[in-house]
């Protein structure tokens, strides 16, 4: 069974990455969706890694994906923790309101 060439997967990864980037801008309000978009971005990056690993027959791509996943998990954990603390303090997670750090 011929596996589709790496190109398809790369295109997929690219499209998914653009979708998640769009998600970042479009979503003005919700922090959670923000975090999800970041997860999506990481996923699309993994897709690329595996596509290349498969194409080059090399292990590093896959191992790297492993590490990216661990980092992603850690990042989500802390992101959500921050989110919880944020909600407890500000009782809103509306991104637009959080601009105290402006110039």
């Amino acid at each position: 069974m011929s596996v589709p060439g790496p190109l398809h997967f790369l295109v997929l990864g690219a499209l998914m990455f653009c979708i998640s980037v769009a998600g970042l801008f479009i979503n003005r309000k919700n922090m959670i969706v923000l975090l999800m978009c970041i997860e999506l971005m990481l996923l699309s990056v993994n897709m690329n890694f595996i596509a290349f690993a498969h194409h080059l027959g090399d292990a590093t791509g896959q191992i790297f994906v492993l590490f990216i996943l661990t980092i992603a998990a850690a990042e989500t954990a802390i992101g959500l923790a921050i989110l919880v603390v944020l909600i407890r303090k500000r009782d809103t997670i509306n991104v637009a309101d959080m601009d105290q750090l402006h110039g």
Partner: protein, 648 residues
């Protein structure tokens, strides 16, 4: 150090010593004047000794270097002394007149608080003048030149409480500085061409100047004309020739002794001396000689005319000095350097005599100087009257007097000179003699004869001045009258100046005049038939008629003359022009420069401007930090995109 150099050094430095002791020593009044009179006296004696050695015994002239001022093989500048016939004559004149004036001042400044200060200034002046006269290079000449300017500044402004005096001394210094501006460029030109400032090297190589040319603004100007022209500008500043003469009448603000010493006998003649000293250079430039001739003639005539309308006794004599200086400059122009020097010597004596006489009149009238309320003083001050009469006769050139011989020689020299301006100069100078006679005897009649216009209560106290004043007058009377007789033969035609003055054959005016000179008395007798004598007598007659027989006639002439009279009153508008457009204009431009360019353009716009623009820039940048997360994300992605495009 041979004895001659020692004598010269002592003669020059003693007055300085006297000045320092009197000025800074904090000594009493009598010690001050005794010390300074002793010093100038010794200096006069030494000058006379040197005079005897160099002129009478035809000794060799002395040229020694005292010390190197600035070393380095590029250019060595030294301070040195040159004592030759020209400078020794000047030394005698300067020290003798200064010594007499020191004595005279005891009487004149008796009740003045700044007594010691005044004595220290006049002996400092003597030192500066002797340094100028005995210099053997341009540097020391310039040092003496400026030092003399400084002391005249100090002396004119001696009574510093008087607003007019301190205005006059600033004016005098600045006008002198305008002259020095030209002078220093002349010296720079000399150095540029000859590579040294020493008289010897410059004069020996002076004929190299013939062809030399300097290109300025496209035209090539002959080097000789440039050097002599610039040096003459300096002489004009110092000897108060027409464009730069405005400071001399105002310098009468100073006490009368200094008017006599500085503004009659010595300082103003520095310019004449300098041109005579630089005769080897001046002979090479016909253009400058002609210029000098014309300026001298114009000054002589125009200032003579102004002398008639003055009411202040000292200003009349001041204008007469200006006019006589014009005569000397004209003589220089005609290459009759010896005649100019001769007139310089005689003028120093009789002009000093006139000033001191005027001074004694001023003492008697308790510092009143206006001719309109004098008159009939001869009854009260016979000695002063005789002295003034002698001085006046010598001034108008009455045959036999010293003034006659020197002025007659100059007027004759005009006829023989072949320069283009000679015709005009001869006419101007002969006409000048009429006005000289007019204003001299106008002064004499107004002051000493005619109706007594002095205030009644003062009349009783009118007495002859103290002996310390009258003795110098009498002493000065002798040379004013008789100095001409021995000197005329020797100075004009007898090779008196030997090598210190060089005259080119085609300019040798005095040589041609020697032919028809047959002894002193025949010359005087012959003069009775010539124009100048009759013009002088006509001047005296007109003065007698106007101011003795019909005193109110001058008033009527003045009103009739109307605009002409006003022109004379405002001294041809020189003062108005200098103070108004020139000085005022410079101040206005400077103010504009300071306000508009310096503080506004550079300071407010460029300096504070940049500071303010930094502030504006930072205000804009501040708005970029919105604090919203997605803006930052957006910018990151945008950056990535741009990077990608740039790469792609």
């Amino acid at each position: 150090m041979n004895p001659a150099l020692m004598a010269c050094l002592a003669a020059v430095l003693l007055p300085l010593l006297g000045a320092l002791i009197a000025g800074l020593g904090g000594v009493g009044r009598s010690t001050a004047h005794r010390v300074t009179i002793a010093c100038t006296g010794i200096s006069t004696l030494l000058s006379l000794l040197l005079y005897k050695r160099i002129i009478l015994e035809q000794g060799a002239s002395l040229n020694e270097v005292a010390y190197t001022w600035l070393g380095g093989e590029w250019l060595t500048l030294e301070i040195g002394f040159l004592v030759d016939p020209l400078s020794v004559t000047m030394m005698v004149v300067v020290s003798l007149v200064s010594w007499l004036i020191h004595i005279y001042t005891i009487g004149y400044m008796r009740d003045d608080p700044g007594y010691q200060r005044f004595f220290s200034y006049i002996s400092l002046f003597t030192f500066a003048m002797l340094m100028l006269v005995t210099a053997n290079n341009f540097l020391q000449l310039f040092f003496g030149w400026e030092a003399v300017g400084l002391v005249s500044y100090l002396l004119i402004g001696f009574w510093f409480k008087r607003e007019s005096a301190i205005a006059a001394n600033l004016k005098a210094f600045l006008v002198n500085r305008v002259g020095d501006f030209g002078f220093i460029i002349g010296i720079a030109a000399v150095l540029a061409f000859f590579g040294s400032l020493d008289y010897d090297t410059v004069f020996q190589r002076s004929d190299e100047l013939r062809g030399a040319v300097l290109v300025i603004l496209g035209q090539d100007i002959s080097m000789a004309t440039l050097i002599c022209g610039c040096l003459f500008v300096g002489a004009m500043g110092k000897s108060a020739q027409v464009p730069l003469h405005v400071w001399l009448p105002d310098s009468m603000e100073g006490p009368t002794p200094i008017s006599a010493l500085i503004h009659a006998a010595t300082m103003v003649t520095a310019g004449i001396f300098m041109v005579a000293r630089m005769s080897p250079l001046y002979e090479l430039s016909e253009v400058v000689l002609n210029l000098i001739l014309i300026i001298g003639a114009v000054t002589a005539l125009s200032m003579g005319i102004l002398g008639i309308v003055q009411h202040d006794i000292k200003r009349v004599i001041a204008y007469s000095t200006l006019s006589q200086l014009g005569y000397m400059t004209a003589a220089l122009g005609a290459s009759a350097y010896a005649a100019a020097m001769f007139h310089l010597v005689t003028h120093a004596f009789f002009k000093a005599l006139l000033f001191l006489g005027a001074g004694s009149v001023i003492i008697a009238l308790h510092h009143k100087q206006d001719l309109r309320n004098m008159g009939g003083l001869y009854r009260y001050m016979p000695l002063t009257w005789i002295a003034m009469l002698a001085g006046s006769l010598s001034l108008i050139g009455f045959p036999g007097t010293a003034g006659f011989y020197s002025k007659e020689a100059i007027i004759e020299a005009m006829h023989y000179s072949r320069l283009p301006g000679a015709g005009f100069a001869a006419f101007a100078l002969t006409l000048g003699v009429f006005f000289t006679g007019l204003y001299t005897f106008r002064l004499l009649f107004l002051a000493f004869h005619g109706r007594e216009r002095t205030r009644v209560d003062e009349r009783e106290q009118l007495r002859e001045s103290p002996r310390v004043v009258t003795i110098p007058l009498l002493v000065l009377m002798v040379p004013s009258l008789v100095i001409g007789l021995p000197l005329v033969e020797l100075m004009l035609y007898g090779g008196y100046f030997r090598e210190s003055i060089t005259v080119l054959p085609q300019h040798a005016v005095l040589a041609t005049m020697r032919a028809d000179f047959h002894g002193v008395w025949s010359y005087a007798a012959h003069a009775l038939l010539t124009w100048p004598f009759w013009l002088a007598m006509a001047g005296v007659a007109v003065a007698a008629y106007c101011y003795l027989l019909r005193p109110q006639l001058p008033g009527r002439i003045a009103t009739a003359a109307g605009p002409w009279y006003r022109l004379l009153l405002c001294k041809y508008g020189f003062d108005a022009f200098y103070l108004g457009p020139l000085a005022g204009g410079v101040r206005r431009v400077a103010h504009r420069l300071w306000q508009d360019v310096d503080s506004t353009l550079i300071d407010r716009w460029m300096v504070n401007g940049t500071a303010h623009s930094m502030y504006l820039l930072s205000a804009v940048v501040r708005r970029l930090q919105t604090g919203r997360l997605y803006h930052y994300a957006f910018m990151m992605i945008l950056g990535l995109l741009l990077l990608g495009l740039l790469q792609g």
